[in-house]
């Protein structure tokens, strides 16, 4: 009898604990790097920040900018001064108040902390002026259409000045922000635990007492954890598991086409290795592009779950140039182009690709398609870090590589296509394109910007320094107990309004 009673008590106790502390478990594809918004660089790190650090502005799933810590903003007439009104009554996790001084501190830190990876994102800012407890004026050297979008990401994340001052470059070991959840603990490669921040300004929308992020790199194991109920949400369900996930009764799937792209970057002017048929002749690049059936590629490698593409922006993006739709495969036209360029007997292209399954499969499909047009593709597998190094150094002919994408269109094109751009590994240089992309960057009028991008695209589809192939689709797997999840094209997992019914 006594034993029975104590067992009941234990069971009751267990249920009570379950009801008290609701934990949401999210499996990520990899482990985040250092948790300092000014220093971090990984995609999964940004997913963790979504719960940990609020930003000045946020985005809607349609990529419109909406208030978060800044409630309103306005530009002066010549677009060189941005005045922001800030949310009142917000505190950081350490109890410090959030105000205009804090914003000024954060912008300064992004610009001057030596370890900062945000410098280029806030380079246009020349100064800040605190014009009220909750108002700040940000001055720019020249108009910068990308700035607000930067504030919707890591450059706009506000950290506690007091904590940052004390920790210096080690801030990431114990980050203090103002988001819905506060940092609790981290075991590298195992988990990051955040606990609910009771004084959060939007606490009504938050339904969990804690969130645990678990890095599980293996796609099969990550999915198995979802199937067994060990985790509630998984990041990047593999396209090949999609069918199985959709047919499972206790699993929901959500998806959104990403902001990024995957393609083949061609060395057209980065050192001696640019002296190749494909590096020297736009016609050869056009022929290769025409030889590829992008829909078939998507079907074969990704079960049709991704989005075929031919530009820096996915076809569903407002920035996509509809005048240049995805080309139909045309082997005869590709052969004709090659013949015209003087390569009747075909050409050989050496393409380096990361040594993981997906890029290898992509390149094998491309290889088979290109062969029919007389283009022999030799695939060189490289470990990713090595591949990037060779790419920067110009020691490559072509590279299967991509970009995770940015909210503002500038982030997907400017640094790749302008002369001397930070990530212009292709070595592409065209003064006309430079001018158009620079103009697009300094114009805040959306319609006008779109025109500049379209004009640049008219040139780029001919020159093809990057042959775009497809756009990844973010696919999340959710236990059906999870409700209120909204997919965003930036791949983040926003927890406002998400709840768990068990």
């Amino acid at each position: 009898m006594l034993r029975k009673l104590s067992l009941t008590a234990i069971l009751l106790g267990a249920t009570a604990v379950g009801a008290q502390a609701q934990d949401l478990r999210i499996a990520l594809q990899s482990d985040a790097d250092v948790l300092d918004p000014d220093q971090s660089r990984t995609f999964v790190g940004r997913i963790v920040y979504t719960a940990l650090c609020d930003k000045l502005v946020d985005i809607t799933p349609e990529l419109d900018l909406i208030p978060q810590l800044a409630t309103d903003w306005s530009w002066n007439d010549d677009q060189t001064e941005l005045t922001m009104q800030l949310r009142e009554g917000v505190t950081f996790h350490d109890g410090e108040p959030f105000n205009a001084e804090a914003v000024a501190y954060n912008i300064n830190r992004s610009q001057t902390l030596e370890e900062s990876r945000r410098k280029s994102e806030v380079a246009s800012i020349t100064g800040t002026e605190v014009t009220g407890e909750y108002e700040i004026k940000i001055s720019l050297a020249q108009p910068d259409a990308t700035l607000l979008a930067q504030f919707a990401d890591r450059a706009g994340m506000m950290i506690s000045p007091a904590a940052a001052e004390e920790a210096g470059a080690d801030f990431g070991l114990n980050p203090v922000c103002s988001g819905p959840f506060a940092f609790d603990n981290r075991v590298a490669q195992d988990r990051i635990v955040l606990t609910k921040f009771d004084d959060y300004w939007n606490a009504d929308e938050i339904n969990f007492d804690s969130v645990t992020y678990l890095p599980i790199p293996d796609n099969t194991v990550r999915f198995a954890n979802l199937q067994s109920g060990d985790v509630d949400i998984i990041d990047r369900l593999a396209a090949t598991d999609l069918e199985q996930a959709e047919s499972a009764s206790d699993i929901e799937v959500a998806s959104a086409v990403s902001l990024g792209y995957q393609g083949m970057t061609i060395n057209v002017g980065n050192g001696d290795r640019a002296d190749s048929p494909i590096g020297e002749n736009p016609a050869v690049r056009q022929a290769l592009s025409l030889a590829i059936d992008r829909n078939a590629l998507n079907q074969v490698v990704f079960n049709g779950a991704f989005a075929p593409g031919n530009q820096s922006f996915p076809p569903n993006s407002p920035w996509y140039d509809q005048d240049h739709p995805i080309p139909e495969r045309d082997v005869e036209a590709a052969k004709a182009l090659l013949a015209e360029a003087g390569f009747e007997d075909g050409v050989t292209v050496e393409v380096q690709a990361p040594n993981s399954p997906v890029p290898q499969q992509v390149m094998q499909v491309v290889q088979a398609m290109a062969a029919e047009a007389g283009i022999t593709i030799e695939i060189t597998s490289k470990e990713f870090a090595t591949m990037l190094q060779d790419q920067s150094a110009g020691d490559y002919m072509a590279s299967q590589v991509g970009w995770s994408g940015r909210v503002d269109p500038d982030g997907n094109i400017h640094q790749f296509m302008t002369t001397g751009g930070g990530i212009n590994d292709s070595g592409y240089s065209n003064p006309e394109v430079d001018e158009l992309l620079n103009n697009a960057r300094t114009t805040t009028d959306t319609a006008e910007r779109k025109q500049y991008y379209d004009q640049a695209r008219d040139i780029l589809v001919e020159d093809l320094p990057i042959i775009y192939l497809y756009h990844q689709t973010w696919i999340w797997g959710l236990r059906d107990a999870v409700s209120g999840f909204t997919p965003y094209p930036d791949g983040m997992i926003r927890l406002e309004g998400v709840s768990l019914e068990d």
Partner: protein, 314 residues
């Protein structure tokens, strides 16, 4: 004996130094730039230059090495380029995890391997012997990663019996800690069980032919007592030696098993560190492992001294 241990310790120091130089140079041969790997997608040149300077990667190689080894002597193993955590803290965090995995795997290996070995030796040439051999061979031949994934799909997904992957510290929840580790320990243990089974079998076969076993039987002892008391005890010496040696193999096998089951141990740390070109972490792990092996060997030698009087005299 103390003199012996002292001598061995003195010899160990140059060994460890040699290993550290070797690992340091080996890392330099790895293609791929650690700073490029950590500069992020943007790869801003100013940031890259600053980081190179900060982590002393612009210094000539010998200077880099002496800076590092100088720190090691003072107990500073450097910091992880990726997470900014001190390497010594990472090592202390990971070591208990891998030890737990290795110990549990060893238990599986012994519990399966030793009885199977005895049984197949005693029933030599019968169906039981062949069956045990088939099982042992399968244990050796089935790849860890395949067995691991199959177990996850069957035990966790289909039957919902055990957690699919991950790790729970014993201090946090002992039961969950053990249940989470069961499958990985089993996967890691089966391969070793096979080796252990085959060695137990041959050791037992040797002993079973010896005179004192025949004497024991002649005395009219029960067969059970002959095998367990007389034969097995004597076969145990090579088995124990082998088990100790297997511990090294366990640590190596843990690398793969930890990857499959996402266990945040030593193996996973080293693999991720190599991929991220996190030099300080790789060096720290190798140094730590080398010291561990040397200490294990030393202990084994000392144990021989203690156990075998003939060695002590010479």
């Amino acid at each position: 004996m103390l003199a012996f241990i002292g001598r061995r310790l003195l010899v160990a120091i140059p060994t460890i130094l040699l290993i550290s130089v070797f690992v340091f140079l080996l890392q330099q041969l790895l293609p791929g730039d650690p700073i490029l790997a950590m500069a992020g997608e943007e790869r801003d040149p100013a940031t890259i230059e600053f980081l190179r300077e900060k982590y002393g990667l612009n210094d000539p190689l010998p200077v880099q090495y002496f800076k590092w080894i100088g720190g090691v002597i003072q107990g500073d193993l450097g910091i992880s380029l990726r997470t900014n955590q001190p390497v010594s803290e990472l090592l202390l965090q990971k070591l208990p995890v891998t030890i737990q995995l290795a110990v549990m795997a060893l238990i599986f290996a012994v519990v399966i391997g030793v009885p199977a070995g005895i049984l197949s030796a005693v029933k030599k040439g019968t169906v039981v012997d062949y069956a045990a051999n088939v099982v042992a061979l399968s244990g050796l031949s089935i790849p860890n990663f395949w067995l691991g994934i199959m177990l996850i799909l069957l035990v966790s997904v289909k039957w919902g019996l055990l957690p699919a992957s991950g790790y729970t510290p014993p201090g946090e929840d002992l039961v969950r800690s053990i249940t989470t580790m069961l499958m990985p320990a089993f996967v890691l243990g089966t391969a070793l069980a096979a080796t252990l089974m085959r060695h137990t079998r041959s050791a037992m076969l040797g002993v079973l032919k010896s005179d004192y076993v025949r004497t024991a039987r002649a005395k009219g002892l029960y067969e059970r007592r002959v095998i367990l008391r007389h034969a097995f005890r004597n076969a145990l010496v090579p088995i124990v030696t082998l088990t100790a040696l297997l511990f090294g193999e366990l640590v190596a096998g843990a690398v793969l098993t930890e990857q499959i089951f996402t266990i945040p141990g030593f193996g996973k740390l080293v693999v991720d560190a190599v991929f991220n070109r996190d030099y300080a972490v790789v060096q720290g792990i190798v140094l730590c492992t080398a010291v561990g092996f040397i200490v294990m060997n030393l202990l084994a030698d000392a144990a021989y001294f203690a156990l075998n009087p003939r060695l002590r005299k010479s």
